[in-house]
Subunit: 182 residues, 2 copies
């Protein structure tokens, strides 16, 4: 069984990670692929219930997501992770666990755009001090320095993002085929 790609969508809250993941999933399922979305918010309510936002807990949350992503990838399931993973070393941990199938996708939007969208009302609550340890407001977000793909949702809509991601997946698959033939 070939390992399928793991696309890790990192970016600020409100950058559009979950929306892109959902649309990409639909597109891939339409082409007959087996796809799983591991969405940070859902994982926090389920698998990582009880973990907080300390550095240790964030790390453990990312470790669990990465372990699941790896397991599914080895079974040929394309995994789309939508999770902030704010620090470079968090993403390094994910990359170490997942290995070759890991692809880093930076879903970029300016903090002011994310804050203006504020879909879940979290920025307003963070500014009022009701949410402590909120990435981009009180906690650091380190943008990826060398992502496999950057999609800018301040300037482009979800369909452009999905097209770019589909192209990335096709490149990964071509590379894998070359490796198998070599």
């Amino acid at each position: 069984m070939d390992e399928a790609s793991v696309l890790w969508l990192t970016g600020l809250s409100g950058a559009g990670k979950s929306t892109i993941a959902r649309h990409l999933r639909a597109c891939l399922v339409g082409r007959g692929a087996a796809v799983a979305v591991l969405d940070g918010d859902e994982i926090r309510r389920g698998l990582s219930q009880g973990l907080g936002f300390s550095d240790v807990d964030r790390r453990e949350n990312i470790r669990r997501i990465a372990e699941m992503a790896r397991l599914l990838s080895t079974q040929g399931i394309v995994v789309i992770v939508a999770a902030i993973a704010p620090l470079s070393r968090h993403r390094g941990l994910a990359r170490n666990i997942i290995g070759a199938p890991y692809r880093e996708v930076y879903v970029k939007a300016s903090l002011s755009d994310c804050e203006r969208r504020d879909v879940k009302g979290l920025y307003a609550r963070a500014r009022r001090g009701e949410v402590v340890k909120f990435t981009g407001v009180t906690d650091t977000y380190e943008p990826p320095l060398n992502p496999d793909l950057l999609v800018d949702t301040s300037t482009h809509g979800v369909h452009v993002a999905v097209s770019s991601l589909m192209a990335l997946l096709e490149r990964c698959q071509a590379k894998q085929t070359v490796r198998q033939l070599a």
Copy 2:
């Protein structure tokens, strides 16, 4: 998106859970289904790394598997769990988390058969006292009282088990269709 079934294969170590899961997976993938196997041994090495075999840790292990199974099921992925889940209340926890898609499958084999097979050499180690808290030797296994399916691997081979499981899945799907039409 329809929820897909979660087949929870419970039974002693060596009863044949992983083997059946692997064969069933291949059969379903061959029919174009999206399928994930959550195998207890793999989960212990990955997602549940660091958890032991105390009651609290066993419970947390099962909670994590059940949360992942639920998430994947809601995305239309058929989930096959191969995990001992020794006590009735462990399976109750899984059933509570997963909800309607949960199906309990008792992979039954006598302790003496499992011990004779001893594929991983664990029974021998448990008898020598090198493995503490080993289900069936030092720890209790409560057989399911009312499983959705019982497959007896002392008397039947893996292909009979897979056929029975395929029939169970077809019954689940038929029920779901009836619910949708109602």
